[in-house]
């Protein structure tokens, strides 16, 4: 089925973190980076990696939830967390190849990108600023997405080498 | 008051598609003629594409150099305008230009220089359409920095080569 997906072009990421602000303003009512469903990791300055759900075709997080608190929105293909049902066990974070989900800093429930119902806020602000590190595409569900569920520090190590050559191997311990 | 325009150039964003050459020559010559395009993309090594075009230097050394006053500037956008009747194809404008940007037209041997398409450059349009943004319009007036962009495209490519390939970059262009 055709759906939206957020392309991430890490080299374009400026590190401004407006995505974290736009996301948390939308979901939490105010600027709260650590409650944002997209979080920008920066293990070394200049090497910024926006980290967010990739909507894997096999949804290991959904499969792993012991209380069925996770489900899939058939329209957007996003993962939906039922906050009432969630017990904050962290199984979904462990099941995720990139450890994307995290527990909300206040209520300790799993926090996962819901694609804002189809019109992601993070993409809008990234485009507005002219970075286009996050871009919306319309694609069918496919097996590539899961490859983007990577530990952001691993991504950063690759980016570091591309940016700094051999020196890049030294900048992230 | 008309906003000033200048074409900002980002060679590292250039894909090498050369649609700018095609759009420019279709507009000025009526058909696809890359070597008659006022913007020409140099590629001294694959992956190092450098769009080469007039920068509208504040002091217009080309205009000053012309022995028959065939060059002038348009009063609205400051583009260099070539009077092809007067031009004798002597090439003095090319020598005067820090980046050797002008060239003699392959058809009639007259000096050929970007005229900014009267305010809506075709090259920028197709570059934007394709999403490269290697050429973008900025609303900036004449300033001293423009001339710094008037560089031999091989020198630009040498810099890009090092940025892309590190030390190897120093070997890929002789």
């Amino acid at each position: 089925m055709s759906s939206i997906w957020i392309v991430r072009d890490y080299e374009n990421c400026s590190g401004c973190r407006r995505c974290e602000l736009a996301c948390s303003i939308h979901h939490e009512g105010w600027m709260w980076p650590e409650a944002s469903r997209i979080r920008v990791f920066m293990p070394f300055p200049g090497v910024e990696v926006p980290h967010l759900c990739a909507q894997c075709d096999d949804y290991p997080c959904v499969e792993s939830c012991p209380v069925d608190a996770l489900s899939v929105d058939s329209g957007t293909t996003a993962v939906i967390v039922d906050e009432e049902a969630c017990i904050g066990c962290g199984a979904c974070a462990k099941a995720c190849p990139g450890t994307v989900p995290h527990l909300h800093p206040r209520n300790r429930k799993a926090v996962i990108c819901d694609l804002c119902g189809g019109d992601p806020e993070c993409v809008k602000v990234c485009r507005e600023a002219g970075y286009n590190a996050l871009r919306l595409v319309h694609e069918e569900m496919n097996g590539h997405r899961k490859l983007f569920a990577r530990n952001p520090v691993d991504v950063a190590k690759d980016l570091a080498v591309k940016l700094f050559g051999e020196k890049g191997e030294e900048v992230i311990a | 008051m008309v906003k000033p325009i200048w074409i900002a150039r980002d060679p590292s964003a250039c894909s090498g598609c050369r649609r700018c050459e095609l759009a420019c020559s279709m507009h000025h010559e009526g058909w696809m003629w890359p070597e008659a395009s006022r913007i020409r993309v140099f590629m001294p090594f694959p992956g190092l594409e450098v769009p080469h075009l007039c920068t509208q230097c504040m002091d217009y050394p080309c205009v000053k150099a012309c022995p028959v006053d065939a060059l002038s500037t348009d009063s609205i956008y400051g583009a260099v305008i070539v009077d092809r009747e007067k031009c004798t194809g002597c090439g003095d404008c090319i020598k005067a230009c820090p980046g050797s940007v002008p060239f003699l037209h392959p058809g009639d041997n007259k000096a050929t220089i970007c005229d900014l398409c009267g305010g809506e450059p075709e090259c920028v349009e197709v570059c934007t359409e394709a999403g490269y943004d290697a050429l973008t319009i900025v609303n900036e007036g004449p300033n001293i920095n423009r001339k710094l962009y008037s560089r031999d495209p091989i020198d630009v490519a040498r810099d890009l080569a090092v940025k892309m390939f590190g030390e190897k970059g120093e070997e890929v262009i002789e």
Partner: protein
């Protein structure tokens, strides 16, 4: 009056006599054969005719052809087509590569160039608005592809500047060239362009090598040829690009994500010489190439906005300095998974090496993988290689590819391509040919592209390769004898890129073709007349073959034995190519094209397609 899109003449070079002349052909021939693949086949017949079976492809008499088509440079995706009698299939292949050389030669005023004879010392041909000349290439002979390009760029630009210093800066010329593999007449060597593009199928690099022809270089200052309906052409140009700009997936990834997905999803990727076709090695996913190695992500060829290309660069470690493209899927497979390698960095190195040596990154590695399987099975020994080859070991394949390019040790035999190497090794080891051929993955001498037929989940099936006149060429597969003609047969003759064809409505493509040439071209006319004419001529050449090799009708119109073994792993485990389907569809294919039940064109078909000149040769085969 030259039809639209054509420069109107091409060059004919006699390398032995050092003579160059200009050639013109009738509008009728241009309309019947179009350009590129089709025109080259016709010109080959005109030069060689009924003597074709006696012609050794690597003999000086053997013509080497380089042709554009009327749509080259004007339709997005500028490409050149090379052809001649293929040293591997003994038929002809329309072998193409993306390169600015293709539009430059038209801007210089020529539709192409043909070569016969052999230069007594290495030369390159330089083509400009003022004509063409052969120039000394002694100082270039022996250089790898990358060094060749670097030196030629400087030398030719300097020379053009010297000749016409006052016209302004001279841009870099377009060029096609060979590396050591072509120079040493490795039978399946490629003709390389722009570092990482290759006319890979057909082994035409060895044709150039056999003539001491190192490169063909062009710099023109003319416009692209005028077209029949310029206003329509300009409008169609904008519209075509709008379609291409909308192809976000192709623009973003090129085929650089397929090294993972063709293995994991369609289970049709060569692994260890096709012993398996499925893998799920996430280490080989697209992002693993992209994040660490793609230093330029929107890289295009002339007049194309697909920018499917990316530049990969290794910045650190022992392969620091290697430059290639993403690599494209075929080389991710052949220079990677086919070697049992699932490491992006090693794959980039081996792809860059293949490019530099001038190997076809598909055909050469097929032979290298074949050799390692023979070692696995105890047929070849460590002593044949001079070391112990190992699957999954980049150094093994680095060494084998160099040995092949330089014809050292077992490389001397492997340089003959998979099929002939199999026969030679059988002889060498005192074994029956079938014992060696059962591991050889080729069709009619042309090693098969990285899309298997056993899972049936990819775009390649039963007769895709078996019935194709270009053997294992994955870009030009046999579908049903009708639709094939409007795919690669068309793009290889119009000469522009396959990828700018798929993804644009066919009606738009053919309207553009008509606006350019003024010929009454339609999709239907291509499928029923022009395409079949070209393919029938190619079939005639293929079945004539010679001088030392002929293919057996029907028996050799088949898949290799490996493609009938059941897949050993993955979601399609147990599946294999359906031989019964191959047999029935092959007959249907022959029938659709008007060939007899042995695949030889009938007298009626030859007459209908205005190929009567083939009747005498075909009657000998019937």
């Amino acid at each position: 009056m030259t039809p639209g899109g054509y420069a109107g003449k091409w060059l004919d070079v006699d390398l032995t006599k050092d003579k160059i002349k200009e050639v013109e052909y009738s509008d009728k021939v241009l309309e019947q054969y179009f350009g590129g693949r089709g025109l080259a086949a016709k010109v080959l017949w005109d030069k060689v005719g009924e003597k074709y079976p006696e012609l050794d492809p690597l003999d000086p008499k053997s013509p080497f052809m380089v042709f554009t088509g009327p749509m080259t440079g004007i339709y997005p995706g500028s490409r050149i087509c090379v052809s001649g009698k293929s040293p591997v299939s003994m038929g002809t292949v329309g072998s193409t590569a993306a390169t600015e050389f293709a539009n430059e030669i038209k801007e210089a005023g020529y539709d192409g160039v043909t070569f016969t004879g052999k230069a007594d010392k290495p030369v390159y041909l330089l083509i400009t608005d003022d004509g063409a000349e052969l120039r000394d290439a002694d100082h270039l002979w022996g250089l790898d592809g990358e060094k060749t390009l670097i030196k030629l760029n400087k030398e030719v630009t300097a020379e053009l500047t010297k000749r016409k210093p006052n016209v302004g800066l001279w841009k870099d010329p377009g060029m096609i060239y060979i590396g050591p593999a072509g120079e040493n007449m490795v039978r399946n060597a490629a003709v390389i362009a722009k570092i990482c593009h290759a006319c890979g199928y057909g082994g035409y690099g060895s044709l150039m090598g056999s003539k001491n022809l190192k490169a063909v270089v062009a710099k023109g200052r003319g416009s692209l040829p005028k077209v029949d309906a310029p206003e329509a052409a300009k409008l169609l140009w904008r519209r075509t690009h709008q379609h291409l700009i909308g192809r976000t997936g192709m623009r973003r990834q090129g085929t650089g994500y397929a090294g993972y997905s063709v293995g994991a999803e369609t289970s049709s990727e060569p692994i260890r010489n096709w012993q398996e076709e499925w893998h799920d090695e996430k280490s080989y996913g697209g992002p693993m190439f992209e994040h660490r190695f793609w230093v330029k992500k929107k890289w295009a060829d002339f007049n194309c906005t697909t920018n499917c290309m990316k530049i990969s660069y290794i910045k650190t470690g022992k392969w620091k300095g290697d430059i290639t493209d993403m690599p494209d899927y075929e080389l991710q497979a052949y220079c990677g998974t086919n070697f049992g390698i699932f490491d992006p960095e090693a794959n980039i190195h081996l792809s860059a090496l293949a490019d530099k040596l001038g190997h076809s990154g598909i055909n050469g590695p097929n032979t290298a993988g074949y050799a390692v399987e023979l070692h696995q099975r105890g047929i070849l020994k460590d002593s044949d290689f001079g070391f112990k080859p190992k699957w999954g070991d980049p150094d093994t394949f680095d060494r084998i590819m160099r040995m092949m390019a330089n014809r050292e040790k077992i490389g001397e035999i492997l340089a003959e391509g998979t099929y002939r190497a199999a026969l030679k090794i059988a002889e060498m080891k005192g074994l029956k040919p079938e014992e060696l051929l059962k591991y050889a993955v080729h069709v009619k001498g042309i090693e098969i592209g990285a899309h298997g037929t056993r899972s049936d989940a990819d775009y390649t099936h039963d007769i895709s390769y078996a019935a194709s006149v270009q053997g294992g060429d994955h870009t030009s597969v046999a579908v049903d004898g009708y639709n094939d003609m409007s795919g690669a047969v068309f793009t290889d003759s119009a000469v522009f890129c396959n990828f700018t064809y798929y993804g644009v409505p066919q009606s738009l493509v053919f309207d553009f073709a008509k606006a350019i040439t003024g010929f009454p071209i339609t999709l239907h006319s291509w499928r029923s007349e022009t395409g079949p004419r070209i393919v029938t001529l190619q079939k005639a050449f293929l079945m004539m073959g010679g001088p030392d090799l002929e293919w057996e009708p029907v028996k050799d119109d088949d898949n290799p034995p490996r493609f009938y073994e059941p897949l050993p792993s993955g979601p399609y485990k147990g599946k294999t190519t359906d031989k019964k389907l191959v047999d029935t569809k092959l007959q249907a294919y022959f029938e659709t094209l008007g060939w007899d039940e042995r695949g030889i064109p009938t007298k009626e078909t030859l007459k209908k397609l205005d190929l009567g000149f083939l009747e005498k040769s075909m009657s000998k085969l019937r």
